[in-house]
């Protein structure tokens, strides 16, 4: 794949433990993303969110990030100065986070928060910025964008908040969007709406998407390719349609634990961790 947006080779992230030694939470992860939709699944603590944050260099000391290669459009992100890295953030790679209740600033109007994402990267007359904010809110299917732009985050529902978040992260037209559990904090009924919006915008702009989730079904229906992470490592990589053919015992275990509508099983199987040589 020559048109890779992001190349990750042997990415490792470690944190010091209270006892002094360092604990690796991401252990040598390698993958590439082009203008496609890549899903990363795994249980909580598997290192999938940390991987997403490490790509944006958001791991702060005492956390430590190393990689043989962490390149975005050919530039090694780990070599960039802080200023150069800030240009990549938002305009090159951006990230939709989990819960809009916590990820939006409570004392700044949402319109201003969205505008800031654009203004940080492009100097533009304020009229035009305003117009772009309204357009962006329309793009995430908010009916009354002028009114919503003047609201504060606590006046929004979860679904609305997450749409605002998406508008904010896409307004500077990044090439790659990391969506870190973007729907986990939302009602099931709103999840599909929000994901459809992300999906449509990513396709229209021809962006790359890294969709991080613990939800196998969701990931397999919105992604082209899937990585399965377990204890800081990628244990399986497959096309979304061929997930049922997965071979790794962890993936098989996860799949077996998914309830189905036509289920006749008395009991849902749980993961047999001994089979994976794990904890």
């Amino acid at each position: 794949m020559s048109d890779a947006l992001l190349e990750v080779e042997n990415l490792r992230v470690s944190f010091p433990s209270p006892r002094g030694e360092r604990v690796e939470v991401v252990r040598g992860v390698s993958f590439r993303v082009g203008r496609e939709r890549l899903g990363i699944v795994g249980e909580s603590g598997s290192g999938k969110s940390i991987t997403g944050r490490a790509i944006l260099r958001l791991i702060r000391p005492p956390g430590r990030v190393t990689a043989d290669r962490l390149a975005f459009r050919g530039r090694n992100l780990l070599d960039l100065s802080d200023t150069a890295m800030r240009e990549v953030r938002g305009a090159g790679i951006s990230m939709v986070m989990q819960d809009p209740k916590f990820s939006l600033n409570p004392v700044i109007r949402v319109g201003d928060q969205i505008a800031e994402a654009l203004v940080t990267h492009e100097r533009r007359p304020s009229r035009e910025v305003r117009r772009r904010v309204i357009e962006m809110l329309q793009a995430v299917r908010i009916d009354d964008p002028e009114r919503v732009a003047r609201l504060y985050p606590h006046q929004l529902s979860g679904g609305m908040g997450q749409r605002v978040m998406i508008a904010m992260m896409l307004i500077a037209r990044p090439d790659l969007l990391i969506a870190d559990e973007p729907t986990s904090a939302l009602d099931v009924s709103v999840q599909a709406q929000v994901l459809d919006i992300v999906d449509a915008l990513v396709r229209d702009e021809g962006m790359g998407l890294i969709f991080i989730s613990h939800d196998l079904d969701l990931v397999s229906s919105y992604c082209d390719r899937i990585l399965v992470m377990h204890r800081g490592e990628i244990v399986e990589e497959c096309a979304a349609g061929r997930l049922r053919e997965a071979r790794h015992p962890y993936t098989r275990g996860l799949l077996a634990a998914v309830p189905r509508l036509d289920d006749t099983r008395e009991e849902l199987p749980v993961l047999d961790r001994r089979a994976m040589g794990g904890t």
């Binding site: 944006l56 958001l58 938002g90 951006s94 986070m97 916590f102 990820s103 409570p106 700044i108």
Partner: protein, 361 residues
């Protein structure tokens, strides 16, 4: 509004906005009325407390007037003249009316009306406290932010140690050492008192604040002298409030810096100084207002130690002298002023919350 809407046709939002501004004004008026009502109620409570203290303390106001050797009939006549034979409710009503008309009685130790005394001593404290809190906020807030933004670095350690010193060092010691070094030895600052004796009484008090009055009178020399005298006590007070404010700012900000919305700001590519000063700092303004308000109120109460060491004719000094002389009118008057200051500052911070916190409206 509907008439000029077509003229602004391009921006229908603006018509909408002026409408919401009108509603905002009405809401502001309503909340101001609510604040005024609660200030009044609190003040009434304060009056009840000072009145009650006046009745409970074992000082007989009649004896304070006639002396303890007065014959019984003189004593009785004075008692009736003072209205002390009336029911308590009536006495309280009279007291409230007297206070509202500005009559706090006469001080037995100074022989002046308490109101006039207070008009003299409170501005002295106000001047010192205000400059003190300006120093405390002006240096303390940036120091706290700086320390939090570089948590664990040497600068954080220095600021934390300085803050700890502010807690640990007694005010009187710092004041005395300050006088010994900067006044007696180096002669960088003025000594005790508000002015050099040569300038005393030259300025007609208008506001009672020497810095303001001297400028009003066009006396720059006196202005400079007053500033020279204020420098040391204000620095000491400033240091103490700085220590507290910097500590609180640091801990509030650290709390905000670990929030997800700070990560959001970084993801957008916002520069780090802006992440700190805009995204993390704005939310802490709300608790910070409380901290600053309380320290200011504490300073206005009059730092007795500092006022004693610097022979400052402020309210702390006045109250202490009055207490030692069992001068009840003066004590109650000063208590009333201090209580009123607390009420005022608390209400002011309530109003500021509403402005600063969109969730409070």
């Amino acid at each position: 509004m509907t008439l000029d809407a077509p003229a602004r046709g391009l921006e229908p939002a603006s018509a909408d906005r002026s409408g919401s501004a009108g509603r905002g004004a009405a809401r502001l008026a309503r909340s101001l009325a609510a604040v005024a009502a609660s200030v009044f109620a609190t003040f009434l409570g304060l009056l009840a407390i000072t009145f009650f203290i006046g009745r409970v303390v074992p000082i007989d106001p009649v004896i304070a007037v006639v002396g303890d050797r007065a014959p019984k009939d003189v004593y009785e006549a004075t008692r009736i003249a003072l209205g002390l034979d009336r029911p308590l409710v009536e006495q309280f009503a009279r007291y409230c009316l007297a206070v509202l008309s500005g009559d706090l009685g006469t001080s037995i130790s100074t022989g002046n009306r308490v109101v006039d005394d207070l008009r003299h001593v409170f501005p002295a404290t106000l001047e010192m406290a205000t400059i003190g809190i300006v120093i405390g906020v002006g240096l303390g807030v940036p120091m706290g932010v700086w320390a939090a933004a570089r948590q664990g670095s040497w600068i954080d350690q220095v600021i934390r140690v300085a803050g700890l010193l502010g807690y640990a060092v007694p005010a009187f010691w710092l004041g005395l050492v300050g006088l010994a070094v900067f006044y007696a030895r180096l002669k960088w600052v003025g000594g005790p008192g508000r002015l050099d004796i040569a300038y005393d009484g030259l300025i007609e008090p208008v506001t009672g604040l020497l810095l303001v009055d001297s400028l009003l009178a066009g006396e720059t020399e006196i202005f400079a002298n007053a500033l020279w005298h204020l420098a040391l006590p204000c620095s000491v007070l400033g240091f103490f409030s700085l220590a507290y404010i910097a500590r609180m700012t640091r801990s509030f900000l650290l709390d905000q810096l670990s929030q997800e919305f700070v990560v959001t700001a970084r993801v957008k590519g916002v520069p780090e100084w802006k992440v700190v000063w805009k995204h993390a700092f704005r939310p802490i303004l709300i608790p910070l207002v409380t901290v600053i308000g309380l320290s200011y109120a504490g300073l206005l109460e009059g730092s007795v130690m500092i006022e004693t060491i610097f022979s400052w004719p402020g309210i702390g000094n006045y109250l202490t002298t009055a207490l030692l002389n069992a001068d009840m009118n003066a004590v109650l008057g000063a208590t009333l002023v201090i209580g009123a200051v607390f009420i005022g500052i608390n209400k002011l911070s309530d109003i500021l919350y509403r402005v600063l916190d969109p969730r409070a409206a």
